[in-house]
Symmetry: C2
Subunit: 295 residues, 2 copies
């Protein structure tokens, strides 16, 4: 199965490298040429356009930033859709709108191709180690055909359902859980600090029970160390939360905790902290504690 | 070491039973006589008052509901303080105000006794199985003396710090984490449901990563099954959140997620759902979705 991979950023680059390392027949494309060089050096052919990439692929994978980027790479003049053969599969690993996904899936279906939405979680480290989690939506047969390809960069692959966009909705579920859990971790951290508690002992006392979470065990120690390096940046978190809040709005679901957290991240981005990790949420509460400090 | 145990409710009853089963020299007391009968049947002496209980104990443990209950059992006319010998230790397993705890500790210190605040988590099941987590504050020597007694009903015991109330503050940290995590689980659940996702597959897809938490893995399946039986009731959660919000207020820490969740639980209690488990938080959001349904 010939694979084309479009979008060699921090996520897509790691995923495509795992395909190359796994001897998958691979061609790549990226909007700016710089990231393609490492692939060319490894003997991977670089396509001249997304349409060119698609024209010699049975499966076209893409991993770009946001909904408009996907639309451009797929449906612009030299986009993937212009090179798609009937029977081929587009696998979108980007995190984008479920509603737009359903529309994109319909447009490629008109050409006899299938759209699988397959957003990932696990960060750049997961992309590099091949330990991403994939949440996929779309036709079950097409999903099963592309599953072995995704196994080169994923340790957990779940077909959530056959409707296009269901993978994206599962990713929204994931992101809501991540950020609201982080809100709780942030408030708890400041209460512990204000109470003069030993933060390490407090973590050990609570993480094994009903208060436990991945964010608590992994980010609390970073918060203790004033280590704001990103597993996932506030800039990207905001992008994903816009998608989440829009989807929740369209389905009529109230998400007050997610909305609150979005506002706090938005303030942090505005203050210049968009490149911090999402656990820097605690800084928004700290800023409320110290409104008169210079930035 | 002679142990007296006051408060044989759903938590204290299980803890005291584990002391009895462990052959700890034990006397008990309870405000209403009913729960003492099972102990009398096992040959455990029932004290006539908290003062009487304390007068023949080296360690007096208590586990009651709220700050005023502790004050009454310890400092009323026939309270524990009236029977305390110098050098004895009061271990308060109730979840109460850290500020009141510091005051209570000062009052027993005037009598030459020591106060250890040692709230627990793990629910009635943990009390019964002897698998509670204890978070303790107060003098380190006194804590080490009573640790072996607590090991009869605890699988995790952490001395958070030497200031009285530090155990209570750690419990507040625990409860903030629990409820705000549950807020995220509730919002994510409704988004998944509205998107038509397979809820079981969605859980499996996200619980192993950064979205994972104890509440997600344990309560989402209950929510799927409309199973609102309590691990911890909304009534008790509200009591603990009042303590948490009061402590956060006094220390000046903003806790918007905790405050939001408190309001939602308060509405549920008002609607008659105080006996539901704390995962019934999702019902507050569902009610916002269906404001015109009959209750």
């Amino acid at each position: 199965m010939r694979v084309g991979f479009a979008g060699l950023g921090i996520m897509g680059g790691g995923m495509a490298k795992n395909l190359q390392a796994g001897d998958v027949p691979l061609r790549v494309w990226n909007r700016s040429p710089q990231p393609t060089k490492a692939f060319a050096d490894l003997g991977v052919e670089v396509a001249s356009s997304p349409a060119d990439l698609a024209s010699e692929s049975d499966v076209v994978m893409l991993c770009v930033s946001d909904t408009p980027d996907v639309e451009e790479v797929v449906f612009s003049e030299n986009g993937i859709a212009n090179g798609l053969a009937p029977g081929s599969v587009v696998v979108d690993h980007s995190t984008i709108s479920p509603e737009a996904t359903a529309e994109f899936a319909g447009r490629v279906a008109d050409q006899g191709a299938v759209w699988i939405d397959a957003p990932v979680s696990g960060g750049s480290e997961g992309a590099e180690n091949g330990s991403l989690s994939v949440m996929a939506g779309g036709d079950a047969d097409a999903f099963e055909r592309v599953r072995p390809v995704m196994e080169h960069f994923s340790s957990s692959i779940t077909h959530i359902g056959t409707e296009p966009g269901m993978g994206q909705t599962a990713k929204i579920v994931n992101q809501i859980l991540v950020v609201v859990t982080q809100l709780g971790v942030s408030e708890a951290f400041l209460v512990a600090e204000a109470g003069g508690l030993d933060l390490e002992k407090t973590l050990r006392a609570v993480e094994g029970g009903a208060a436990g979470s991945w964010m608590l065990s992994n980010r609390w120690p970073q918060m203790m160390a004033d280590d704001w390096r990103p597993g996932f940046t506030i800039d990207l978190q905001l992008k994903d939360l816009r998608i989440a809040l829009d989807a929740a709005d369209k389905s009529g679901v109230p998400t007050p905790g997610t909305a609150l957290t979005f506002q706090m991240y938005r303030a942090l981005q505005q203050a210049g902290n968009g490149g911090d990790g999402n656990h820097a949420l605690v800084k928004a509460l700290q800023a409320m504690l110290h409104p008169n400090d210079d930035g």
